[in-house]
């Protein structure tokens, strides 16, 4: 067999030839998008070494198939197995072309690389870079557009667990609202980094998938790592906020408000809040735009967010939103009523009473507010009674301290069994205070 025949033609036109020096182990080769680590030495055909990771005494790392290195390198490395060593002969059009890279690589140079594959791993897409979302590109795409917030996304997804496909479907949604159609968070995060036309395998740890609950319908146990194969078919461009005039902003904000309301109706408060927040952020600042429409929209949005928070039992956040409404419109009955409700729940009773009283001032016939006033007053009274008792206990304790001169009685341990000592009473009083404080905080 001649020497020529040992060389594999990777490009199909003889531009990238590979000659294996040492076979690697296993059958796997790295996929596009993988982070690859290898050693290489590059030489010109006359043997002049122009670049070497061995000389730098550290492996060279790069993301395969993303055009980060010269074409021949991407092409050659993609065919290497673990531990493989090979020569890669690259024609100029797969390397530095007619221009070369002066001074080390002259124009129109054929380059010879000696490569040794050290390892590869999937691309980590997780926000904390903790390996909880990992991508392997199965079919790369040379397009560069990726979905951005609010952009229309069309994809085909196939989820599997333990080798079993649990769902396969085409999905269309606006980026950021995937959860509304059952897209797990990890998949949505991964989609943001996919190019149109790309197919990838996404491995998702439980915290970005079905979490500690798992998914009964899909028969996925708690804390399971799942895998999705996704093809991003198409995506639009997200909203280009900077381009929008005030009137366009208002129009877009209305769209998001509408979306928020739809999610609210479906009891999806998390997404509803997300949409209302987008609406809020899109609206021009009151300082720049004093129109009634903008103000009304702001008031409605804050008010709706407050309601969503109330429904989600986040009463502190709800109160903040009510405050925002009241800053814009001090006599907003809804906001006053809601803030009163929040205050009542978080035990800010005086504030709650004040809010409900103001509602009655503005709307004398508001029965709900009147009822709440009664409840508030009752609770305040209860609290006062409780306090009275506490103070009484405290004074008893203080009085007891004064009587210390009396000679101590002979005590029978069993005497006090099941009874509260003064100390116990004091401790209980302290604890009650503590509890109250905790609630108040």
């Amino acid at each position: 067999m001649s020497e020529e025949t040992k060389k594999l033609d990777l490009s199909g036109d003889g531009g990238v030839l590979k000659e294996i020096l040492k076979e690697g182990t296993g059958n796997e080769t790295p996929n596009s998008g993988c982070k690859v680590s290898l050693h290489y030495t590059g030489r010109l055909v006359d043997g002049t070494e122009f670049d070497s990771s061995v000389g730098r005494n550290e492996p060279f790392e790069f993301e395969l198939g993303k055009g980060r290195v010269i074409k021949a390198f991407d092409m050659g490395v993609a065919t290497m197995k673990l531990g493989e060593r090979c020569f890669l002969t690259c024609a100029p059009n797969y390397a530095y072309g007619a221009a070369g890279s002066p001074p080390s690589i002259p124009p129109d140079s054929t380059l010879i690389f000696e490569l040794e594959m050290l390892g590869w791993k999937g691309e980590d897409l997780s926000p904390n870079q903790d390996g909880s979302i990992e991508r392997t590109i199965l079919e790369p795409s040379d397009k560069k557009r990726t979905p951005s917030d609010g952009a229309f996304v069309k994809a085909h997804i196939s989820g599997s667990f333990d080798g079993r496909v649990f769902e396969e479907r085409d999905v269309e949604f606006d980026y950021g609202e995937g959860s509304a159609i059952g897209i797990v968070e990890g998949l949505e995060l991964a989609l943001e980094k996919m190019n149109i036309g790309e197919t990838s395998k996404i491995k998702i740890h439980s915290k970005y998938a079905f979490g500690a609950k798992g998914n009964e319908a899909f028969k996925i146990p708690p804390n399971s790592t799942i895998e999705y194969t996704v093809k991003l078919i198409d995506c639009g461009k997200g909203l280009e906020e900077w381009k929008l005039s005030d009137s366009e902003r208002v129009a877009e904000a209305k769209v998001y408000k509408e979306k928020g309301t739809n999610y609210f109706k479906k009891d999806n408060f998390e997404l509803a809040i997300k949409m209302y927040n987008k609406c809020k952020n899109l609206l021009p600042s009151i300082k720049d735009n004093t129109s009634d429409e903008v103000k009304a929209l702001k008031v409605a949005t804050h008010s709706n967010i407050a309601l969503c928070h109330q429904k989600s039992n986040d009463h502190f956040e709800a109160k903040q939103e009510c405050n925002a409404v009241l800053e814009l419109d001090a006599n907003n009955v809804k906001a006053l009523y809601r803030r009163g409700q929040c205050n009542l729940i978080i035990n800010e009773l005086e504030d709650a009473l004040e809010d409900f009283q103001k509602v009655i001032q503005l709307e004398p016939g508001n029965k709900a507010a009147a009822n709440h006033i009664v409840i508030c007053k009752q609770k305040i009274k209860q609290n006062k009674d409780k306090e009275k008792k506490l103070y009484a206990n405290m004074f008893t304790k203080l009085a007891a301290g004064d009587k210390e001169t009396e000679p101590p009685r002979e005590t029978d341990v069993l005497d006090k069994c099941g009874e509260w000592s003064e100390e116990d009473a004091k401790r209980e009083a302290d604890l009650t205070l503590e509890r109250d404080n905790i609630i108040m905080i």
Partner: protein
């Protein structure tokens, strides 16, 4: 026995205090320098170290002592370094951090920094977070040093030469040089002791990465504001026409930095402190990184996809396991300055990988360029322009249109056009225009068209609009010179669309303010003249678009010119006759425009502020009016020339059609069918 040790330690402390009181500094030195004496006292050092610090070092190391009693200061300074070897590590670190941040002079700063050096080495590679906090106190101090205002406002060539003579900058450089000296042993230890991961780089919190981020932070502001050779050579002289021939700088990176390298060469004998510090920091970062381009690969991840904080999943600002992705630890402007020093400053080591694709380097660096251009300080903007120019020069083939899907191109264009149009620094505006020109030419034809059209549709600056329209004309002209069929972006529908929507535009029809749009209108007329004469064969489809151009531009422009000239002449008459009170508002508007122009040309900037100029006299009014009338008359001359050229060419084309019975070109047929 234990009691004896305590007593001995207390005695030692008393002895040192007494010796200092008696000003027996040599005696104190002897205690620690004489091997036999030191062998005796060393066992007690750990016990008294913190007391030595609290009772002697901290109260003594003050500016007053430094001025009034320098020998005492020096002695205690040495003592502090010895204390650092024995003091309880973490409490002492906290003390040093506080003292460094609060240090009031270079003397105090360097005294504590010397101690910090010892402490950092003692800490070893364990608890890198502690090292990080110590080093960040150094950065905090540096960032808080007072600096002259002109550094952030921009400075001219003369000021640049004298930068290091300024006392505050001298102080700043002294701090930097001290820091260089401080971290050197730590760097050596890291390079020798901290082994790299065998296959994949560890990007987590470790001593090497902490030191890398620290050095990178030092390259940011305020050092970045002192880029002494930041005054660009005037490459485009006033009035010089641009050409669309490939830039002579292309493919020759070394030429793009001619000015910079010249400055370096000139400074060869006496390299400035800034250059020395930059050189040291850059080389040290590169030694720590190994592959200097490694961080460039992370830039897109940082700049393109914003990390969404998510407390439910434990995603906080600092929670990334990759240190280089955290903005506080590795600010992008500082990283951009590293690549500026490395590439533009030619500090790239010969061992740097050469297998990176030029397009990847260009696209990744564009994020950094955009970051620098968006900075408010002109010196940083200049570095951004120069880095961009360099990255454009290394491209070996045209940038494909798909690259424009990256959002960063838009961000970059916006920032660049803002500088080109409105920077108060004239050299920046000039360089900005040049870089914009290089940038557009770096793309393939379809992408060039796309960029030009988008810019022409979105920009407001009349001068840039005129320039870009001229660039498109040049590109078409270059294509016309070749016999090959024209690309679809230089002919037919797209050519027509560009001409009608972007070039030959009179924004408010007859009512347009001709003076405000004079540059773009002059360019439009010149472009019409060019095509009228150069494309008699109608290869571009110009003659099909002409009727619409006449309707949308030429006819209303003719009327508008007449109206405007009549108006200004009448106004001049009224001023001459002293009857112009009602027109003064208009005059004020024009003067305000003039004031903006003045501030733009970097001549003063006093015109900015409340936007009103004080009332001016009759002569000044007449002068402004004369300028306006001259401007309008020049435009009219051009208008007449264009009309003339068009008429002549129409006649020539008719003649040619009459004498020559050639079939219409494919382009004409296509358009006629449409």
């Amino acid at each position: 026995m234990k009691m004896d040790t305590v007593t001995e330690a207390e005695n030692l402390l008393r002895l040192i205090k007494r010796m200092l009181l008696e000003r027996d500094y040599d005696g104190v030195k002897m205690l620690f320098q004489s091997p036999t004496v030191f062998a005796e006292i060393e066992p007690h050092m750990a016990a008294i170290a913190m007391e030595l610090y609290n009772e002697i070092c901290a109260p003594t190391l003050t500016d007053d002592t430094n001025v009034d009693d320098a020998p005492l200061f020096d002695c205690v300074n040495e003592l502090l370094k010895i204390v650092a070897r024995y003091a309880s590590l973490h409490p002492f670190m906290l003390e040093l951090m506080e003292k460094i941040e609060e240090s009031s002079s270079i003397a105090i700063f360097s005294a504590y920094l010397r101690a910090l050096q010892v402490v950092l080495l003692r800490q070893g590679s364990a608890k890198p977070q502690a090292i990080e906090w110590c080093l960040s106190s150094v950065v905090t101090r540096i960032r808080e040093l007072p600096l002259p205002d002109y550094l952030s406002e921009g400075y001219d060539e003369q000021q640049a030469h004298l930068l290091e003579q300024e006392q505050q900058i001298e102080q700043l450089m002294a701090h930097y040089i001290t820091i260089d000296l401080c971290y050197e042993p730590l760097l050596k230890a890291v390079l020798q002791q901290d082994a790299r991961a065998p296959i994949f780089r560890d990007c987590g919190l470790n001593r090497r990465n902490v030191l890398t981020c620290f050095l990178l932070q030092l390259l940011g502001k305020p050092l970045a504001l002192l880029e002494v050779s930041n005054v660009p050579k005037r490459l485009l002289q006033p009035g010089q026409a641009h050409t669309c021939t490939p830039s002579p700088w292309r493919l020759r990176p070394e030429l793009t930095q001619q000015n910079y390298l010249l400055a370096r060469a000139n400074a060869g004998k006496t390299q400035t402190y800034v250059q020395q510090v930059q050189h040291t920091l850059t080389s040290d970062i590169t030694r720590l990184l190994g592959d200097p381009y490694y961080l460039l690969g992370l830039v897109e991840q940082r700049a393109r996809w914003k990390r969404r904080l998510d407390a439910a999943n434990g995603v906080y600002e600092m929670s990334s396991h990759n240190m280089f992705l955290i903005d506080d630890k590795l600010p992008l402007p500082a990283l951009a300055m590293y690549y500026h020093a490395l590439l533009v400053g030619q500090l790239l080591p010969a061992t740097a990988p050469k297998i990176y694709a030029p397009l990847f380097l260009f696209e990744s660096s564009l994020y950094l360029v955009a970051v620098l251009l968006e900075q408010p300080e002109p010196p940083l903007q200049h570095c951004g322009l120069r880095l961009n120019d360099y990255m454009l020069s290394i491209l070996t083939e045209a940038v494909p249109q798909r690259s424009l899907d990256l959002e960063v191109h838009k961000r970059y264009c916006e920032a660049l056009c803002k500088i080109t149009g409105y920077s108060p620094q004239e050299p920046l505006r000039q360089l900005g225009l040049q870089v914009l020109h290089h940038y557009i030419l770096a793309f393939e034809d379809a992408a060039k068209y796309f960029i030009l059209k988008n810019l022409l549709e979105t920009l407001q600056h009349d001068g840039i609009l005129g320039y870009l329209a001229g660039m498109y004309k040049d590109l078409v002209a270059a294509a016309l010179e070749k016999k090959a069929p024209l690309s679809d972006v230089y002919s037919g529908i797209k050519f027509r669309s560009m001409l009608l929507r972007c070039v030959c535009v009179l924004p408010q029809d007859v009512k347009s303010d001709l003076l405000l749009h004079s540059v773009s209108l002059s360019n439009a007329l010149n472009i019409l003249r060019y095509f009228a004469m150069a494309d008699l064969e109608n290869r571009t489809g110009f003659w099909h678009a002409l009727p619409e151009i006449e309707e949308r531009l030429l006819q209303p422009l003719g009327k508008a010119l007449n109206f405007s000239l009549a108006h200004y002449k009448a106004y001049r008459e009224r001023v001459r006759n002293g009857q112009s009170a009602s027109d003064d508002e208009l005059m004020q508007k024009q003067l305000n425009m003039l004031a903006v122009n003045i501030s733009n040309s970097g001549m003063g900037g006093e015109g900015e502020g409340d936007g009103n100029l004080p009332d001016i006299g009759r002569e000044e009014k007449l002068e402004v009016l004369a300028g306006s009338i001259t401007g309008l008359e020049s435009l009219r001359v051009l208008y007449l020339l264009a009309s003339d050229n068009l008429e002549q060419s129409i006649a020539r084309r008719k003649q040619a059609t009459a004498t020559n019975t050639t079939t219409p070109t494919a382009m004409e047929l296509e358009l006629e069918q449409r």
